[in-house]
């Protein structure tokens, strides 16, 4: 249970950010983020002191937790779990995308390559990180660094947390769809272990573009979906008021995705959720990540790739002969 003081602080921070985002004006992504924060604020106000995390809770609550403004972001995990991080910038094609962070680091005595979406904590950072929504150059940078890792025999850890790939004019001009698609085809060819950690929002193709791997871990309160519950509500119910029903129908929680075989392992969170204790969250994740890497590192590259292809070939086969 969140303490009243901390909850009040969180509410005030949200209010401050909503105001700031509204002052930014021009950017409609900012406008959209302000809307999202308003939903968070509303939920915080309603919960006022009620337990924020219980077993079997509503899918919509998970969506709110996955988007919680105090939740650890990719760079938080990098500093809590890894050492000697060197960030690598740029896709060598067009630019550097701050919404997708890449680099090399050490983890439990080995070198690894890291690739992850990055959201911003305050308004300035949110705008800088484009709310964690990458452009094509982000996905191209990610593949470049993953290919670099494969060349030098480093396992890859990806950290997934995005509302989705950015829907903008420039993104379309530079081939957002092509950038995502190309990653989906090329990542399976990399001859090093890949562990995926879905730790916040797994927003559709924008998440999947760095979420192909040999083992997919998902945090207890993370969500992973083909579409946001809000957009799903607006398309299927033709209004914005059915987001809770949509969240439930989409089956976007870690337990559900694990039961469907789309996620390999659910990583438990601290009692109140990852946002309540970043260090504890990292200490739960660390041994699971280490074990996953050790298991995969034991396999010869040919066997690793054979298993990966077999896994992907069987992925999500829910069909029947009628």
């Amino acid at each position: 249970m969140a303490t009243p003081a901390r909850q009040l602080a969180a509410q005030q921070e949200l209010q401050r950010q909503i105001q700031e985002l509204e002052q930014v004006g021009g950017s409609a992504a900012a406008h959209e983020e302000a809307q999202r924060l308003r939903v968070q604020l509303e939920a915080l106000e309603q919960s006022s002191g009620a337990p924020s995390s219980e077993a079997g809770q509503d899918a919509w609550q998970r969506v709110l937790l996955a988007r919680h403004p105090q939740r650890p972001y990719t760079l938080d995990y990098i500093s809590l779990l890894f050492t000697d991080f060197i960030e690598l910038h740029g896709d060598r094609r067009f630019g550097d995308d701050p919404a997708l962070v890449c680099g090399l680091a050490s983890f439990e005595g080995r070198r690894v390559a890291l690739v992850g979406h990055q959201k911003g904590r305050d308004t300035k950072q949110k705008l800088h990180r484009n709310f964690g929504m990458p452009n094509p150059e982000g996905y191209r940078k990610a593949l470049r660094v993953m290919q670099l890792a494969a060349k030098f025999g480093m396992p890859i850890v990806t950290l997934v947390d995005t509302p989705g790939a950015y829907p903008g004019i420039g993104a379309e001009e530079r081939g957002q769809a092509e950038a995502i698609a190309y990653n989906l085809k090329e990542i399976p060819k990399l001859r090093v272990p890949i562990v995926v950690v879905v730790h916040g929002e797994g927003g559709s193709g924008g998440a999947l573009a760095i979420a192909i791997g040999d083992k997919v871990l998902m945090l207890e309160n993370a969500v992973y979906s083909v579409i946001s519950p809000e957009s799903c509500s607006s398309i299927l119910w033709r209004d914005w008021d059915h987001k809770q029903e949509a969240a439930r129908a989409l089956g976007l929680t870690a337990e559900r995705l694990h039961a469907l075989g789309l996620v390999d392992e659910v990583v438990p969170e601290p009692h109140e959720g990852a946002h309540a204790n970043h260090a504890e969250m990292a200490s739960i994740l660390r041994p699971i990540l280490a074990r996953s890497l050790i298991e995969l590192e034991a396999l010869p590259a040919d066997e690793l790739l054979r298993r990966r292809q077999e896994r992907l070939r069987k992925l999500a086969t829910f069909v029947m002969e009628s």
Partner: protein
């Protein structure tokens, strides 16, 4: 269709006859001309006046690509198992049933094997009338099986896309089809077999962001809407009007995403020529 009645209805025409006649006519969305449906069909579903490309059913598409319109269909009975037991304002099962009645298909893709100018090929064509041509587990499995068959028989693969993207009613399962199919296409790379993607109006979302953009050749029909995000979503996000011709095939060609734009009349011979280059002998 008042434009038609005014011009053509004889005075005091019997009501039944008028209705029947009306069914034989259509209107071109581009040049607004009244057209005999038969003329349009005979013209590969293009406007005989201005060349506008009407949307084509998956069946008609396969018939126009394969020699003699003949092919062996694969996996025709594959159907969705509705793994999420999904319900919005309607049950997904009901939507599937309705789509099946409208199209005669179990899902939004037909795959088959036939000859293209005398050479064997596998072709998949998407059916927009089936829940917006959306991609779920059946589309994913059928394409993956087509890839398996291509590898087993050393055959080229062509997929004609016409889709609004991933199917919401199968949640993350639809999303995973993007991974499954793209990984299959990586196997085609290793087997060095040709895959040609044909993008038709519309091709958006998760279909564009996976197999539709991954062709050894990406070919589009003129004027086709092709993109990752739909134009309405982009307009809402950036709160600006979109530039003229945005996300049309010509725009994608100019931005380097397509190898060529090929009018429907030339599509079959273009594909045959391309395949002779990619897979000689």
């Amino acid at each position: 269709m008042t434009w038609f009645r005014k011009e053509n209805r004889p005075l005091e025409a019997p009501k039944e006859k008028r209705v029947q006649t009306e069914g034989l006519w259509t209107k071109c969305e581009a040049c607004k001309q009244a057209l005999w449906k038969k003329d349009v069909e005979a013209n590969l579903h293009c406007c005989p006046k201005c060349g506008y490309h009407f949307r084509v059913s998956a069946r008609a598409r396969l018939e126009m690509l394969f020699d003699g319109g003949r092919y062996i269909e694969h996996d025709a009975r594959l159907a969705s198992s509705d793994p999420l037991d999904f319900k919005d304002t309607k049950r997904y099962r009901e939507r599937l049933k309705k789509a099946e009645i409208t199209t005669g298909l179990k899902d939004a893709l037909i795959t088959g094997e036939g000859m293209i100018e005398g050479r064997p090929a596998l072709v998949g064509a998407m059916e927009f009338q089936f829940i917006g041509g959306s991609m779920g587990a059946v589309v994913g499995e059928k394409i993956t099986r087509a890839i398996d068959r291509a590898i087993a028989g050393k055959l080229p693969l062509i997929i004609v896309s016409c889709s609004g993207g991933a199917r919401m009613m199968e949640g993350a399962i639809s999303l995973m089809q993007m991974a499954k199919i793209s990984a299959g296409l990586a196997r085609l790379d290793e087997a060095r077999l040709p895959y040609i993607s044909v993008l038709t109006d519309p091709t958006t979302g998760g279909v564009t962001a996976s197999y539709a953009m991954l062709g050894d050749l990406n070919i589009a029909e003129p004027g086709a809407l092709i993109g990752f995000a739909g134009p309405r979503v982009i307009e809402q996000t950036i709160k600006q009007k979109l530039p003229e011709g945005f996300q049309r095939a010509e725009f994608l060609l100019a931005h380097g995403m397509l190898d060529a734009i090929v009018p429907r009349k030339e599509l079959k011979s273009y594909l045959a020529r391309a395949l002779r280059f990619l897979q000689p002998g």
